[in-house]
């Protein structure tokens, strides 16, 4: 059972080293007959000539031409505006935004493009930690984690993560950090320990029973930032699915990516807070599964 998720891929590239290191990841996601890839480059028309940039775009990730399902789009203007506009005009399932290269200087006043695109693009974002110089996925992921939340759409996110684990024949890890000190406040904690029939644990079991995946739960109590990091390391996660609430944090100069992402050598798929309406309208795998009505 395979969802539409992760089939229409958009890779906005600046031709940086980080973009080149993302190619093995893209080839992994493109190993699906229905996957489509768009390589997008936004250039400054005042600084560069279109012809030269077009030539570079054609040569960037040259092997993607062999996929037969790859198109290259060149736009002029401000990168953030143009990428958002392009996302608005076309439907994408996943945006590939690797962490930018370190500059060697403190980046005071830096505003994260990844965070802004995740918040305003309404499209799930693939990203990696900025210290992982070899940030590319070296092979298909062996361990896929889902960082569970109490948000209303957690089941949908969990199904996507489980479907990805089934696709790559990976072990599926569910990670949950109990809130402190309100451990037993009617959330997942009580359900996990009392085994209530309609609780999230029951829904988790229903999800994994309908997908061919090995399933493990990792729980902990404590400071979320440190515990999520610890549990991701414990699960040896290669790829983690995480909600934008956990993937982003509020900084001095606006939203930025959470330190959780930079503390683990792992790739992340971050779900947006408010996906686009047409994405919600398309048939979803979560609707096709028989799941108990759990909160």
């Amino acid at each position: 059972m395979r969802n539409q998720f992760g089939r229409r891929l958009l890779f906005p590239t600046s031709f940086s080293d980080a973009c080149f290191r993302t190619m093995p990841v893209l080839s992994e996601w493109m190993d699906d007959p229905e996957a489509r890839l768009t390589l997008l480059h936004v250039y400054d028309s005042k600084k560069n000539g279109r012809r030269e940039i077009e030539r570079q775009l054609q040569s960037f990730f040259a092997e993607a031409d062999q996929y037969g399902r790859c198109e290259r789009v060149l736009l002029a203007g401000d990168p953030k505006t143009q990428i958002l506009e392009h996302c608005r005009r076309h439907r994408y399932d996943l945006l590939f935004l690797p962490a930018s290269e370190p500059t060697g200087f403190p980046r005071i006043g830096h505003r994260s493009l990844r965070a802004r695109l995740l918040r305003e693009g309404h499209v799930p974002v693939w990203t990696n930690s900025d210290f992982s110089r070899s940030g590319a996925m070296r092979q298909s992921p062996k361990n896929i984690a889902y960082v569970m939340t109490n948000e209303p759409d957690w089941k949908e996110h969990c199904v996507e993560a489980a479907a990805a684990a089934a696709r790559w024949n990976s072990v599926f890890h569910v990670i949950y950090v109990f809130p402190v000190p309100d451990v037993d406040d009617g959330t997942l904690a009580s359900d996990l320990f009392t085994g209530r029939e309609t609780g999230p644990l029951e829904a988790l079991r229903a999800i994994v029973s309908q997908l061919p995946v090995q399933f493990r739960i990792h729980t902990s109590t404590g400071h979320e930032r440190f515990e999520v990091r610890r549990l991701l390391k414990e699960a040896q996660a290669d790829l983690a699915f995480i909600s934008s609430a956990k993937a982003m944090t509020r900084g001095l100069f606006g939203r930025r990516m959470s330190p959780i992402l930079n503390s683990v050598q792992c790739q992340f798929v971050c779900f947006p807070d408010n996906p686009r309406p047409e994405v919600l309208e398309q048939p979803r795998l979560v609707d096709r599964l028989a799941l108990p009505d759990a909160g």
């Binding site: 031709f15 080149f20 093995p24 040259a62 996929y67 590319a136």
Partner: protein
């Protein structure tokens, strides 16, 4: 591979910035303590540092040479791959007889052998970059071969096996005599040797002693340098010391970067570009009208 004339400082700076900034802070504190704190015992004679710098330079040059040796061997192997691929395609197109059999069937066999050779080159590149080769092979090879290849962990080696099996069948059907079959088999052996050579470079790191000791010695030298300079230069010590340290730190960094020629960095052997060159040559030998476009440098780098 870097093809631009100059290497911008912004590319080197992130690699060396942390070490240089720490050294600068250290140098400043030594200068301040000597000049304003009156700690004159901090100054040491500069004479012992001179032979140390000489020995360190020899050590670093040796290390950089070893790293360059790996890089150049990788490039030579890929140069050999270009030649062997052209040879194999030429042999497949000219040595297999079409007499006494179905002409269309022989043409298909020749085409398949050349396509397998292109697949070998593509999959070798992916194998070395730990990349999934199958999206690139799907349009080139029949589904049954793709299914068989998916069961192998070493896809390039499995492709050579497919080619060898086809040649054996051709020999059994009388389309190849023993001499021609041996000639083709020799070319396949060359390709296997290239695959093995690339894997050797990929899987064998530089001896750790060659990596560890230069790094430690560079740090030790850079830490001792301000003590030797401070008596003569006083508050100018941080400037001179940081500049000299930069030379040694940059040499150390360059050596480390080129020691892994198949690691998805700008210092890689330009495998994508070389693969495309082979594809263009082989498709043209097959008589294809539409051949892929050449790969040009992107921002001064060829991948």
């Amino acid at each position: 591979m870097i093809v631009r004339d100059h290497l911008p400082l912004k590319r080197i700076w992130p690699q060396v910035s942390q070490r240089l900034l720490l050294l600068l802070c250290f140098d400043i504190s030594i200068s301040v303590l000597y000049t304003f704190g009156g700690l004159t015992f901090l100054a040491i004679p500069s004479i012992p540092l001179a032979p140390m710098a000489g020995a360190l330079s020899i050590f670093l040059a040796f290390r950089t040479n070893s790293a360059y040796g790996r890089w150049w061997e990788a490039r030579t192997l890929w140069g050999g791959l270009v030649n062997s691929s052209r040879t194999f395609a030429r042999q497949a197109l000219t040595l297999i007889d079409s007499t006494g059999g179905d002409r269309a069937c022989v043409t298909d066999l020749r085409n398949l052998l050349v396509r397998l050779q292109i697949s070998f080159v593509r999959s070798l590149r992916c194998h070395l970059r730990r990349q999934n080769p199958f999206p690139e092979l799907e349009r080139l090879l029949p589904d049954e071969i793709i299914c068989r290849l998916r069961t192998h962990t070493n896809v390039p080696s499995a492709i050579l096996l497919e080619s060898a099996s086809l040649l054996r069948t051709a020999k059994e059907e009388g389309r190849l005599d023993s001499f021609r079959w041996v000639a083709l088999e020799n070319t396949l052996t060359e390709l296997t040797n290239i695959l093995g050579g690339c894997e050797r470079i990929k899987n064998t790191p530089m001896p750790r002693q060659h990596d560890y000791f230069p790094r430690i010695l560079v740090v030790a030298f850079c830490l001792l340098l301000p003590f030797a300079l401070v008596e003569g230069l006083r508050m100018l010590t941080p400037v001179a010391s940081t500049l000299i340290s930069f030379i040694f730190v940059a040499l150390d960094t360059v050596g480390r970067e080129i020691e892994t020629p198949f690691d998805n960095t700008v210092h890689d052997t330009p495998m994508t570009s070389l693969t495309r060159t082979i594809e263009i040559n082989l498709f043209q030998q097959l008589g294809e009208r539409r051949v892929p476009a050449e790969v040009h440098p992107v921002d001064g780098f060829v991948y």
